[in-house]
C-alpha cells in the first residue's frame, strides 16, 4: 500500500447542488463520522488535493469552474461524483440550463448515488476512490487537460487573453 491511500486530501466543490449532499459531506467531518481518522482532510485548495468531490450537476455557471479545479489538481487524482445530481443530473436532468452529470465534462471515477447520499456511502465512495488512486499511480496514468472547445461561451472568453 502506498502513502497515497493513507493520506487522501479532498477538495469539495458544490456545483448546482441543492445543498442536501453538501450537508452530508460536512457531516462526514463531524465527530460522529470523523473522516480525519482515515487521514482524510478537506483542503479547499485544488493544488493540494488528491480527490475531487463534486455535488450537483453541470450548468452554464459552473462548467468553467469544474474544469479549472480539475486541471489545477496534480496527478494522480480521482473524481468522486456525490449524489444522483452529480451522477446523472437527477431530478434536474430536464432543466433547460442543466447539461447533465459531472461525467459530461470531466472523467468521473466513482459514482455515489443517493438523494441525498448518506455519509456512510460517501465515505465508502471515497475509500473506493483510494483504490482507483493507487491503481492510477501504479500505472502512471496522467489525467487529460479538460477544455470545452465546442462551447461557444467558453470561446468568447478564450479570445480575451491568456489565462
Amino acid at each position: 500500500m502506498t502513502y497515497l491511500a493513507k493520506s487522501p486530501w479532498i477538495i469539495h466543490y458544490d456545483a448546482s447542488s441543492c445543498n442536501g449532499c453538501d450537508i452530508e459531506i460536512l457531516a462526514c467531518l463531524t465527530p460522529m463520522y470523523d473522516v480525519e481518522r482515515f487521514g482524510i482532510i478537506n483542503t479547499g485548495n485544488p493544488k493540494h488535493a488528491d480527490i475531487f468531490v463534486v455535488t450537483g450537476s453541470i450548468n452554464e455557471a459552473n462548467r468553467e469552474v469544474i474544469q479549472n479545479i480539475y486541471n489545477q489538481m496534480s496527478d494522480p487524482k480521482v473524481v468522486v461524483a456525490v449524489g444522483i445530481c452529480a451522477c446523472s443530473g437527477g431530478v434536474f436532468r430536464e432543466c433547460y440550463n442543466v447539461a447533465g452529470g459531472i461525467d459530461k465534462l470531466i472523467p468521473v471515477d466513482v459514482y455515489v448515488p443517493g438523494c441525498a447520499a448518506r455519509p456512510e456511502s460517501i465515505i465508502d465512495g471515497i475509500v473506493t476512490a483510494l483504490g482507483v488512486l493507487e491503481e492510477k499511480r501504479n500505472k502512471h496514468v496522467s489525467s487529460p487537460m479538460v477544455t470545452d472547445h465546442g462551447h461557444t461561451h467558453r470561446h468568447r472568453h478564450a479570445e480575451g487573453g491568456a489565462q
Binding site: 502506498t2 502513502y3 497515497l4 493513507k6 493520506s7 467531518l29 465527530p31 470523523d34 480525519e36 481518522r37 482515515f38 487521514g39 482532510i41 478537506n42 483542503t43 479547499g44 485548495n45 493544488k47 493540494h48 488528491d50 489545477q72 496534480s74 496527478d75 494522480p76 499511480r137 496522467s142
Partner: protein
C-alpha cells in the same frame, strides 16, 4: 564551542521528533474536539504522499525557494543544537522565512500573495521579541553561545520571567497556531485558501512540511534554553508548554493581523524592557 555531533544528530533525528510531535498534536486536538483523530504517524503518511505526487508549479523558481527554505531551516537548527551563536541562529531563521515568502511571491496568485504579505507581518511581529530573548539570555548568562547558555547553572527563567512569557506569546505565532495562524494554517484549517503554501504542491509542499518539523524542534529547543540549569525540569517544561499551545490553539478563534502585530510589539516592549531594567538594577547597574 561548536559541536558537530549534535548538529548531525539534529539533522537526522529532528524530522522524526518533529513529525511525531505534529502527529501527537493532531491526535490530542482531535480528542479535545471529541473525535478519534488520525493515527500518530499521519504526518509521515502525508509527507510520503506528497512526494508521490506530481510536481506542478506556476513558476520553476518556487522549487528553488522551497529547497532554500528547508536548507536554511536545517542550518538554523543545526547551528543552534551545535551550540553556536544565538544571534546568528536568529538571523538564519529569518533568512529561511524570507525564502518561504519569496517562494509565495513567485507565483502570481492572490491567495499566495496575501499569505506572503501576512508572513512578512508575522516576521515583523515576532522578530523583536526573539531578539530581546537573546539579549535577555546574554544579560543573564553573559554569553550569546547556545552551548554556554544551555550548560549554565543560573536559573535563566527565574531571572527572565517577563521575557519568557513574551517568548511564549510569539511562540504561538511561530508554531502557526490559532489565534495567530494568519499566513497559513495547519491540520484541516483553511485561511485565505492555504496562504503562503497555496501555490506549492507535491514534493515542494512536502519540503515545506518537513521544514516545519525542523522548526518545531528548534523552537522547543529554544524554550529549553530557559531551563538549561536543570535538564529534567527543562524537558518537562517543554512538554507542558507544547500542550499549552495545543490548548490555546483549540480554544481561540483566529484574530486579525493588526492585533497580532500590535499585541506582540506591545508585549515585547513592556514585558521585556521591564524585565531587562529590573535585571540591570538588581545586578548593580553593570552588566
Amino acid at each position: 564551542m561548536i559541536n558537530i555531533v549534535w548538529a548531525i544528530v539534529f539533522v537526522l533525528v529532528a524530522p522524526v521528533i518533529g513529525g511525531l510531535v505534529v502527529g501527537i498534536d493532531r491526535k490530542i486536538t482531535a480528542h479535545m474536539q471529541g473525535r478519534v483523530g488520525p493515527p500518530i504517524l499521519q504526518p509521515f503518511y502525508d509527507v510520503g504522499k506528497l512526494f508521490e505526487k506530481e510536481q506542478t508549479v506556476v513558476n520553476e523558481t518556487q522549487i528553488f525557494y522551497a529547497i532554500c527554505y528547508i536548507i536554511f531551516m536545517i542550518f538554523t537548527g543545526a547551528l543552534f543544537f551545535a551550540g553556536g551563536d544565538l544571534l546568528l541562529v536568529i538571523f538564519a531563521l529569518t533568512l529561511a522565512q524570507v525564502f518561504l515568502v519569496m517562494g509565495a511571491f513567485a507565483a502570481n496568485s492572490p491567495y499566495s500573495y496575501v499569505g506572503a504579505e501576512r508572513e512578512l507581518l508575522q516576521i515583523m511581529a515576532y522578530e523583536p521579541m526573539v531578539i530581546l530573548a537573546a539579549v535577555g539570555m546574554f544579560v543573564a548568562t553573559k554569553s550569546f553561545n547556545v552551548s554556554e547558555i544551555a550548560s549554565t547553572t543560573i536559573p535563566v527563567v527565574l531571572l527572565l520571567p517577563g521575557i519568557f512569557l513574551g517568548f511564549l506569546y510569539v511562540l504561538t505565532i511561530k508554531l502557526r497556531k490559532s489565534p495567530f495562524d494568519i499566513s497559513t494554517s495547519h491540520h484541516a484549517h483553511q485561511e485565505i485558501v492555504k496562504g503562503v503554501t497555496t501555490e506549492f504542491s507535491g514534493p515542494s509542499l512536502g519540503l515545506i512540511e518537513i521544514s516545519h518539523w525542523y522548526e518545531t524542534v528548534f523552537l522547543l529547543g529554544f524554550v529549553y534554553l530557559f531551563f538549561g540549569f536543570n535538564p529534567l525540569i527543562g524537558v518537562a517544561a517543554v512538554i507542558i508548554i507544547y500542550l499549552l499551545e495545543i490548548l490555546i490553539d483549540n480554544t481561540n478563534a483566529r484574530v486579525k493581523w493588526q492585533l497580532v502585530v500590535k499585541s506582540s510589539w506591545l508585549i515585547a516592549a513592556v514585558v521585556s524592557v521591564v524585565n531587562l531594567a529590573a535585571l540591570y538594577y538588581l545586578s548593580g547597574g553593570v552588566p
